[in-house]
């Protein structure tokens, strides 16, 4: 069974972390992953940096620019991760924009991910219909779960479509914004969280965007299976360095 599906069956609220590969330093990627697992993180989104990350706010933009300046490339990331399964057993998801994957070759990219032991992909700008028309068969061949996003503006009909096309979890974007721009949840989020919970989707939901401490984590996971922290973690790495990952995780849980 795919590691993501296994993880979703655990009887706990899941804490997942996004970070940009090759940041703060090119060779921090593996250490960050190992430290996150050692500190009880349930799942990791490894960000493949992109020059034009149009769904990201300044924090992740800057980390992506820095990672690219550090020399990060798709090939280098795959090289860094080639032995990752010798030391890490939690689900690993690659998250990035579609163009670098397209240039690598979608099938070659998926094959490489499978060899490494990547469990799923999040490509925000690879839309559902293009995925289904052109790439679903390839993802399935390599048992890579494609994770789709929904937002407070996504219609019920569209959510049901996405639920039907998914078989790992649904990435529930908490608020209409790019990453890292808002923190804390208001009434709109509560209504949205309740609305999605009432839909009884077949896939568990993991909430992302706007989670930066233990209270937002608790709020996000009242109904949802788990939550993802991205910008707040990157900010922590920028300000306090890789050695302080345990402190960051303790703050949340």
């Amino acid at each position: 069974m795919n590691r993501i599906n296994q993880k979703m069956q655990e009887d706990k609220k899941l804490l997942s972390i996004y970070f940009t590969a090759g940041y703060p330093s090119l060779n921090d990627t593996v250490k960050v992953i190992q430290d996150l697992e050692a500190n009880g993180i349930d799942m990791i989104e490894i960000g493949l940096p992109f020059s034009d990350p149009l769904a990201d706010g300044p924090t992740i933009q800057n980390s992506s620019t820095a990672a690219l300046k550090n020399g990060m490339t798709t090939n280098i990331l795959f090289e860094q991760l080639k032995d990752i399964r010798k030391s890490v057993s939690i689900p690993l998801i690659l998250m990035g924009y579609f163009n670098p994957m397209l240039q690598y070759g979608v099938e070659a990219f998926c094959k490489k991910c499978a060899e490494i032991g990547i469990d799923g992909l999040i490509m925000p700008d690879l839309p559902l219909d293009v995925y289904q028309d052109e790439y679903e068969a390839i993802f399935k061949k390599y048992d890579l779960k494609n994770i789709f996003l929904i937002t407070p503006q996504t219609s019920d009909a569209r959510i049901l479509q996405i639920d039907a096309a998914s078989d790992a979890f649904i990435y529930m974007v908490s608020t209409a914004s790019v990453t890292g721009s808002k923190s804390g949840f208001g009434e709109e989020q509560t209504t949205y969280f309740n609305r999605i919970a009432a839909m009884n989707l077949k896939n568990p939901q993991i909430v992302g965007f706007g989670i930066n401490n233990s209270s937002t984590f608790k709020q996000a996971t009242t109904h949802a299976k788990g939550a993802i922290i991205g910008s707040a973690f990157i900010k922590h790495l920028t300000e306090h360095g890789v050695a302080t990952i345990p402190e960051f995780v303790k703050e949340i849980r």
Partner: protein, 393 residues
């Protein structure tokens, strides 16, 4: 072969809507409505009326006698520079602001390179009393100061794009991020024939008034609707798309595109996308794109802020790969000299973008009886500083 967008917004293999889910409701709303709205009699009436009384259309099709003599062919200039706000951009912003009103949007955002689209957007927002935010690369803000002042005077807020190369590409990223952050009340007026479907098709249709007029104007002057060639400069490609539109399926009309070669196609400082680009995804569409082997988008260069874009509209990518269009590129020097030449032969100072189209004569020889229509997409007032610096005027 078909050169119009398919229902899903593809031109051959290019186009589509590669957007994050956050943008899906906005783009889908537009996709479902744009064609319906555009054929509504009320919409058409208001659009046509504004183009006539406010923009000043039809724009003249002018026989450039001295330029024709110099290059021993028959050159007509389609005078989009005479439009209100000084370029073709306003054709599209008039259309899109009317579209935004029908979709009940109250706030407008736009990206701009040379500032022409920003000015055209700020203008229609003033006209309609809508709130307007224009994103512009920090570098472009510096090199197009008069247009920045115009936008501010028109009541728009000009927000600098500080990321990446701080030019048009980055302004577009910032505008898209704004739209993600404001999904309900905001319409994004994209200024070029780029972006996710339906934008390339919608922008092309609003700009198609250019070729619609060329047809009947040429009939009056030459007794035939179809020229032998239509020529336009291409950054994202909105004036080109409008200039070509009604000739795309007329095989006897040659379609010529001139891109910005910057300091030379192979100099590393260029924006000649057809020569340097590979298929890729930028700003929501699949097209030809300047990028590294690794799929990172590279930073283009051109002396002209309006052509300084690493991609090209999907229609143009299709025209290039299918062979329907002939693609050339003009260097900064060729463009500047062609701009000066037009000024001194015809008394018309063109925008530096447009000067690239005029540089076609440095690359191609036409026959004496060829009828060549060049889109004079914009006037050069905004570029005076650059002309002064370049020629030490």
């Amino acid at each position: 072969m078909n050169y119009n967008a398919t229902e899903k917004g593809y031109y051959g293999e290019f186009g589509g809507a590669y957007i994050p889910e956050m943008l899906y409701p906005n783009v889908e709303e537009l996709r479902q409505n744009y064609l319906k709205v555009m054929v509504e009699p009320d919409f058409k009436k208001e659009f046509d009326q504004l183009l006539k009384d406010y923009v000043g259309r039809p724009s003249p099709l002018y026989f450039a006698k001295r330029l024709s003599e110099k290059y021993n062919t028959k050159v007509y200039l389609k005078r989009e520079d005479l439009n209100h706000t000084g370029a073709h951009k306003v054709n599209n912003t008039i259309g899109q602001i009317l579209m935004a009103k029908r979709l009940k949007k109250t706030r407008i955002i736009a990206e701009t390179g040379a500032g022409q689209h920003g000015v055209a957007t700020a203008t229609v927002c003033a006209l309609m009393g809508m709130k307007c935010v224009v994103y512009m690369g920090e570098i472009d803000i510096a090199r197009q100061a008069p247009n920045v002042a115009r936008m501010k005077m028109l009541g728009a807020e000009v927000r600098p794009a500080l990321s990446g190369s701080r030019t048009l590409k980055d302004a577009t990223n910032e505008a898209i991020r704004d739209w993600i952050n404001n999904p309900v009340d905001t319409h994004y007026i994209i200024g070029s024939a780029i972006g996710p479907h339906p934008y390339p098709d919608m922008v092309t249709r609003f700009q198609s008034i250019i070729s619609e007029e060329i047809k009947w104007q040429l009939k009056e002057k030459e007794g035939r609707e179809n020229p032998d060639y239509v020529v336009a400069c291409i950054g994202g490609g909105s004036n080109a798309a409008g200039t070509y539109y009604h000739f795309l399926h007329e095989p006897e009309v040659g379609i010529i595109a001139v891109e910005a070669a910057g300091k030379g196609v192979n100099s590393g400082e260029s924006a000649a996308t057809s020569a340097l680009g590979k298929e890729g995804v930028i700003h929501g569409c699949k097209t030809l794109l300047m990028q590294t082997n690794d799929g990172q988008i590279t930073e283009p260069y051109s002396i002209s802020a309006g052509l300084d874009y690493p991609g090209v509209g999907p229609l143009h990518a299709h025209l290039y790969t299918s062979g329907r269009g002939e693609f050339y590129s003009a260097t900064d020097d060729e463009a500047m000299n062609s701009g000066l030449e037009l000024t001194q032969l015809e008394g018309i100072i063109p925008a530096i973008e447009t000067s690239h189209a005029l540089a076609i004569f440095k690359h191609k020889t036409f026959k004496p009886d060829d009828v060549v229509v060049i889109s004079l997409s914009g006037r050069g007032d905004k570029d005076l500083d650059n002309y002064i610096k370049y020629f030490n005027l």
